[in-house]
């Protein structure tokens, strides 16, 4: 990526060599002072927002059983943690490094990175897939003597979307992408619907 970060595996190996564990999730390998600064502000704002909403919940009986007690404490803790993250980042990298850089340029740099563009495109495609599948309601049945073949909205929407994603990322031939997309979607549909009797999304 643009920040030139280490890969997860490299970070893990380095932490092993040092005898220090970097974290279950790969820790802060992708973090930067600027990101930590933005995160600290966002967390503090979220905390304040939660506190306001908690106070507005009111107090039906005793203050001790008020629905906003723990949400208020949680919000207040988040404000403190946001401040803590800010101070920690400031102490570690200094104020200048934390505020360095132009937000617009950072966004532009991010968008110029091919991997970032692919990620955004993938997000959009999955968003479209989820939205369209949510609006679909279809369940065709073809009865034969031995088996009832079914074709639902799940297959109708999933096959073209998976085909598109495969075509874009796997870059195989049109036929290969189509066969894999169709094969896997039909296989999943049969396993879930016929094998485990689970209703599929988009199937009415």
């Amino acid at each position: 990526m643009a920040e030139g970060q280490k890969s997860r595996i490299e970070a893990d190996i380095e932490s092993l060599e040092k005898g220090v564990f970097t974290g279950e999730e790969g820790g802060d390998e992708r973090s930067t002072p600027r990101k930590d600064f933005i995160a600290s502000v966002a967390v503090a704002v979220l905390g304040i927002f939660a506190m306001i909403l908690s106070v507005r919940l009111g107090n039906p009986e005793s203050i001790f059983t008020a629905p906003g007690v723990l949400p208020f404490i949680t919000g207040a803790s988040l404000v403190v943690m946001g401040a803590g993250l800010f101070l920690k980042t400031k102490r570690r990298y200094g104020m200048d490094e934390m505020l360095a850089g132009d937000s617009l340029r950072t966004v532009r740099n991010y968008l110029s990175d091919p991997e970032a563009r692919r990620t955004l495109m993938l997000m959009l495609v999955i968003f479209a897939y989820v939205m369209i599948l949510g609006q679909t309601d279809l369940d065709w049945r073809f009865k034969t003597a031995v088996y009832t073949f079914r074709f639902s909205g799940f297959e109708l929407i999933s096959i073209p979307f998976i085909f598109f994603i495969l075509r874009f990322f796997w870059r195989s031939t049109l036929l290969n992408c189509f066969l894999v997309a169709t094969g896997i979607v039909v296989f999943l549909a049969v396993v879930f619907r016929d094998g485990f009797q689970i209703l599929l999304p988009g199937a009415g």
Partner: protein, 496 residues
């Protein structure tokens, strides 16, 4: 006598051919899933919950235990053969195993990993069986105040353990999870909280779509856009689990097993932490001539890592079953599967679900034996699987995420939730926040909220000193919670 009858009754269910077959399917899927680089144990667990929806209670438990046991081992196969760990906890195995594979000893390295995993599972299961009665007895003494503190400690320690040298990020992730858990009707007064007038939010946010989004979709968004070529598998050779050789490493295996189980029992500390820690302890304690081999292909190092990460399975079940606090994100998926099948986990598990604990013990033992045989049988097919590019495999997981999220309550809102969780998880990852504390907090939030308010009502007319002196378990928990924060702020924070 009563317990023996119960054990035999549960064994009769668990040893039915259908049950063993389902467990075999779970173990096979788990090994294949774990072996695929980029597909983690938690992802396997989160996505396959959807598949367990249509199963009966015992079948679903057997299936999920099979997946869990199989996927923890699976990571070792790709680690040794293609130098890419299938799961993060296989990194130490990768360092040692691939060095051995390059010398033509890949088969022996994998055999050692299989045997180490088998032994690790046994140690985890034995310690689980040994400690459950004591922890259940202790847990039954817990009242509202203690349950609240225990939940908060679970979230705090999970944040500390999963965020490396920035525990504050783990805590923030956990606290955001708490806020998410408050969405919906309040359990005491029925007041809608954080619903913004949206009726569907009044039912609250189910953590299963959240789990699928955070560990399934987020992983796809992280991995798929990186064009990485498929690995070139090393020669496997003959895979013979070297029992005689391993007897020489008994001490290492027992020590690693204990480390793995203890780490597993700490909320948030998963197989990753267990294998790293055990590897590090093993290196320090190895004989000088053996220590020279570490990093260049040491069988003892493989035993250290593999025994620990597999013992972690049994360890993670300990707080999950007795306290309702998952030992790690994968155990959170087990918890979700159990709750979905109306199994009440926590201190009352034995009274509310008689026999289920024995069934889980037996299930883990069966899964361990099946893992041993399937691991040997699946190595060659796995080599074929590694030649498939991730750009082919990852897109195929997208419909599984959608189906899994929808299957839980047949509500399409959960699919939207899964998508939002996936995007949020990706953003949090980019900002260096761990995701496991968030899931744990969403699970523990309602428990913490209800118990705090009950406890505050009980303490209404009491002084602070009364609470401290009359509730010793609570006081000990307060000290532990404060120490967790102190350790995170003043000790671990300074290592950076």
């Amino acid at each position: 006598m009563f317990e023996l009858q119960e054990v035999l009754a549960q064994a009769a269910i668990a040893f039915q051919p259908w049950m063993i077959f389902v467990c075999l399917i779970g173990v096979t899927l788990g090994i294949l899933w774990g072996a695929m680089p980029g597909l983690s144990t938690t992802m396997a667990m989160a996505l396959l919950i959807g598949l367990s929806v249509g199963m009966s209670q015992h079948v679903a438990i057997m299936f999920m235990l099979g997946v869990y046991t199989g996927s923890v081992f699976g990571g070792a196969i790709s680690a040794v053969l293609i130098n890419i760990p299938g799961t993060p906890d296989a990194v130490p195995t990768m360092i040692e195993g691939h060095a051995l594979a390059k010398r033509g000893e890949g088969g022996l390295a994998l055999g050692t990993a299989i045997m180490g995993s088998f032994m690790g599972n046994w140690i985890g299961i034995i310690l689980l069986i040994a400690f459950i009665p004591a922890i259940l007895f202790l847990a039954l003494q817990f009242r509202s105040w203690e349950m609240f503190l225990l939940s908060m400690w679970g979230i705090a320690i999970c944040g500390s353990m999963s965020a490396g040298d920035m525990p504050i990020k783990g805590w923030i992730s956990g606290w955001i999870g708490l806020l998410i858990s408050f969405v919906g009707l309040d359990a005491i007064h029925g007041v809608p909280r954080f619903t913004f007038g949206v009726r569907i939010l009044e039912d609250g946010i189910s953590y299963i779509p959240l789990l699928i989004g955070l560990f399934g979709l987020t992983e796809i968004l992280k991995v798929l856009p990186q064009y990485s070529p498929p690995g070139i598998p090393s020669e496997v050779g003959k895979v013979v689990p070297p029992l005689k050789k391993l007897i020489g490493y008994t001490r290492t295996a027992v020590r690693s097993g204990i480390v793995g189980t203890i780490i597993g029992a700490i909320p948030g500390a998963g197989a990753n932490v267990a294998s790293f820690l055990s590897y590090d302890i093993g290196r320090r304690r190895a004989k000088p001539e053996e220590r020279k081999k570490w990093g260049k292909g040491s069988y003892e190092a493989i035993v250290s890592a593999e025994v620990a990460n597999n013992a972690n399975v049994g360890g993670s079940m300990l707080p999950t079953l007795t306290l309702g606090i998952p030992g790690n994100a994968a155990a959170a998926a087990i918890l979700a599967a159990l709750e979905m099948k109306n199994v009440v986990v926590g201190p009352t598990i034995q009274t509310e679900n008689p026999g289920i604990i024995f069934f889980i013990y037996i299930g883990l033992i069966i899964a361990n034996f099946l893992m041993y045989f399937m691991a040997i049988a699946l190595i060659k097919p796995c080599v074929k699987l590694f030649s498939l590019p991730r750009t082919l495999l990852m897109p195929l997981i997208i419909p599984i995420c959608v189906m899994g999220a929808f299957a839980v309550s047949l509500n399409y809102f959960d699919v939207y939730l899964m998508f939002i969780a996936g995007i949020a998880g990706y953003i949090l990852h980019r900002f260096g926040f761990p995701l496991a504390p968030m899931v744990l907090a969403v699970i523990l939030g309602p428990l913490a909220d209800e118990n705090l308010r009950r406890a505050l009502l009980v303490f209404e007319d009491r002084s602070f000193w009364w609470i401290i002196s009359e509730r010793p378990i609570g006081t000990i928990l307060i000290v532990i919670v404060l120490y967790t924060f102190y350790d995170g702020i003043f000790r671990r924070g300074k290592t950076a």
